[in-house]
């Protein structure tokens, strides 16, 4: 239990998927204009990550990993080179399913998320989490916690970015930097403050 808790804290703060590994920057920059949409997208990412990470774990360790197909009579088979395309397909499928469920049961949230919900499918944080999960040899339970933790860290970063962008709405930015350049500088400053956790081992 303590291990799982430290894995969760580790993936939220120390190895923040956004500000320590710089994954998922595109939607982080594009959707952080208002706090409400940022929170909505954050929850969607948490949900999708918590689901895709264990599903990809099952697929990888059940079908793709070296020797995983021993039960079907192919103990020497190594399909792990297929993991990229498989993971992306799984993510896209799950995002589609989530989209349909939200559309059916909460049209309001569906309308406010708009185009950003399908865009989660191409959010690199999602694929990155699945790949990290394989690389670090997590167990099944750990993959669930790792997915939830990465999603929470991503949501924390995008919500605080949205709050900062609300605060700097009246900032007098030099003309050439206005817009995304300015947001990238804020993101860099945020990443610098998140470096305070680098070096902590849990």
């Amino acid at each position: 239990m303590g291990d799982l808790l430290s894995l969760f804290i580790n993936s939220v703060f120390i190895g923040n998927i956004l500000l320590a590994y710089f994954l998922g920057i595109c939607s982080f920059i594009a959707v952080s204009k208002t706090i409400e949409t940022a929170t909505g997208l954050g929850f969607a990412v948490v949900f999708v990550l918590t689901v895709t990470s264990p599903v990809n774990w099952l697929i990888y360790h059940g079908l793709l990993a070296p020797g995983a197909l021993a039960w079907a009579g192919y103990p020497g088979l190594d399909l792990s080179f297929l993991k990229f395309i498989t993971f992306i397909a799984v993510i896209a499928a799950i995002v589609q399913a989530v989209e349909m469920v939200i559309d059916r049961y909460s049209p309001l949230l569906y309308a406010s998320l708009g185009v950003f919900l399908p865009l989660i499918a191409v959010n690199c944080a999602i694929l990155g989490t699945s790949l990290f999960m394989v690389e670090r040899n997590h167990t099944f339970i750990e993959s669930v916690v790792f997915g939830a933790g990465s999603g929470t860290g991503w949501m924390l970063a995008i919500v605080s970015m949205a709050a900062i962008r609300k605060k700097v709405r009246y900032a007098d930015v030099p003309a050439g930097l206005d817009g995304f350049g300015f947001v990238m500088i804020i993101a860099g400053l945020m990443a610098m403050t998140f470096m305070m956790f680098s070096g902590i081992t849990l």
């Binding site: 709050a163 605060k167 900032a171 007098d172 400053l189 610098m192 403050t193 305070m196």
Partner: protein, 386 residues
Amino acid sequence: MNPIKKIFELLEYDFSDAGKFAKLGPLFDATKTFFFLPSPKNKMGPFIRDHLDLKRYMSFVIISLLPVLFFGMYNTGYQSGLARGETLEFWASFLSGAWVVMPIIIVSYGVGFFWEILFAAIRRHPISEGFLVTGLLFPLTLPPTIPLWQVALGISFGVVIGKEIFGGTGRNILNPALTARAFVFFSYPVTMSGNVWVAGADAVDGITGATALAVNAEGGTSLFSTLSDQGFSLSNLFFGFVPGSIGETSALCCLIGAVFLMVTRIGNYRIILGGIAGLIITAILFYFLPGTKGTWADAGPLYHLCAGGFLFGISFMATDPVSAPGTNPGRWIFGFLIGFLTVILRVANPAFAEGVMLAILFMNVFAPLLDHLVMKHRISKRIPNV
């Protein structure tokens, strides 16, 4: 007529929009308001209660920093004397310390004002007094042995990226002085962390040793006896006769500054008290954690309060009105979490012995979010308007 006023009136046309030095207009304005009150005054009501403008606000912070500054100069000289094996008397310590500290401050002010004036001239905004504080706070957080070019580089980053990109004082999200220090800290860790810095200990290179926060007792002895063996007794830490960054060593001087800021209501007492409460509660929790004997987890609240730069940071850095939250509950939470994170970093992070700088910057990032949550909570408490 006042001769200084005469000079200003003589030059006024040249620096106005039609004059030949129009670009340097902001510099002229800043110098003039330094000597004289701005002339446009309200002749009729409504009147404001108190003439607390940005200039007075910032000069009060400078006043509150004076004890820390003078003690820092004295202690720098005193420590370098100790390292050479001689105990200097008061004035000798002070002068030799000032000889080390003054160049750092001059470089910080000089380079910082260069950027400030450049941006003010090109972007046509007035020069802000905020830099007077930033330019003094930054050197006080540095070790006395820092190379001057690193001071120049750090303050450039702090002023340009930390503040001027955002459009100047009042619009930044992080404390510019801390941004500058964090930049130097991460870029040149060799000169900034790990060891104690004593200026001029040797003609060739300074002596090095562990800072108080990097000391760990070995072999079952208590942390306190190990600390006092190395000169870090609680009274030394409180009064500040220990090596360290220029301004941070004396808890007493920081407290004097903090009380001054709280009494004049320049620094918000909620942040300072919240921070001290957060530090004390977290330190007590760690104190009762088993199996930590001899490390800083075992140190207890008094040592955590007096060692390192916590009091300096919470009094002068965290109370920056721009980068701190604007709502009162937000300020309590902000301060409390700074104290909490400081202890967590000191105890759990072997990479950085001191955590208060990064804790404040980290909470600066979350200050707008705290404000948002507080306001949302308030709105939800309203009686529905139907």
